[in-house]
Symmetry: C2
Subunit: 155 residues, 2 copies
């Protein structure tokens, strides 16, 4: 059983992430990949950029992996990867994957993983627009946290 936790500054390799968690004990692997969408709340997005205090973000990702294992003890491997820096349209910013003996747990653990990652892991997102509007930092979190400037980033 392993936790594969990573913050990357280039494209996320989805095939390699899959390879890192396949296992003869498992009958199923569920993966979710979040990609940069061209529209957000009606505005034309040019690209996104993500920033984090990496040490803290990794610590929260490790806590999330432990949380997943506690909720679904049959989970064999967990893979949590977030890209930082600029992420062009249609490219992946985040990947959550789990391998389990049976697929019901794989789907449930993967869904919880991405929801909790978005809600809990302190990563900031900057949207740049194609309509000339000023770029702005928005909460990566999907809960109702107020938008604000990101904390000073050390990376």
């Amino acid at each position: 059983m392993s936790d594969h936790i990573e913050l990357v500054h280039e494209a996320i390799d989805v095939g390699a992430a899959y390879e890192s968690i396949r296992d003869p004990r498992c009958g199923g692997i569920a993966l979710f990949v979040g990609t940069t969408r061209e529209v957000h709340e009606g505005r034309p997005v040019a690209q996104l950029a993500y920033e984090a205090y990496e040490e803290m973000a990794k610590k929260e990702l490790r806590k999330l992996a432990a949380d997943i294992r506690e909720r679904w003890p049959d989970v064999v491997h967990v893979c949590l990867i977030h890209r930082l820096g600029e992420v062009p349209l249609a490219e992946a910013s985040v990947l959550v994957a789990v391998s389990t003996p049976h697929r019901g747990e794989a789907f449930a653990a993967c869904r919880h993983g991405i929801d909790a990652l978005k809600a809990q892991v302190p990563i900031w997102k900057k949207e740049s627009y194609r309509d000339g509007a000023a770029a702005r930092w928005v909460a990566n979190r999907e809960s109702a946290v107020p938008e604000a400037d990101p904390p000073e980033v050390r990376s």
Copy 2:
């Protein structure tokens, strides 16, 4: 919008499947990969082999893709791949992936896709065991269909 339907006789390329359905209109891609597990109902599995009348299996996969689009009209791309022939331990036999604007639909459509594929697509599975027991054909379907010899296979 495209349906990527394939029956393959070699390893499923998960990275390529992901690449085939990522799209700037989408914020999320859910993938499920079914892999050969070393134990099935308590018996030590050596490998699986899958056979199908390919024309009929592809027709059912196309119907399933249409069914997914009808249930989740926001789905952008659908990818359904099944491997035929021998599938060693820990290797992928089946992949279901969908790309959608929002992740809730991606998970729901992907989960329905693999459940319906297992229930509806006529693909036969042969289990070989490591304990010397005779290999046997088992229903790939997970519904309570009786086990029987596979139909004569044309491929």
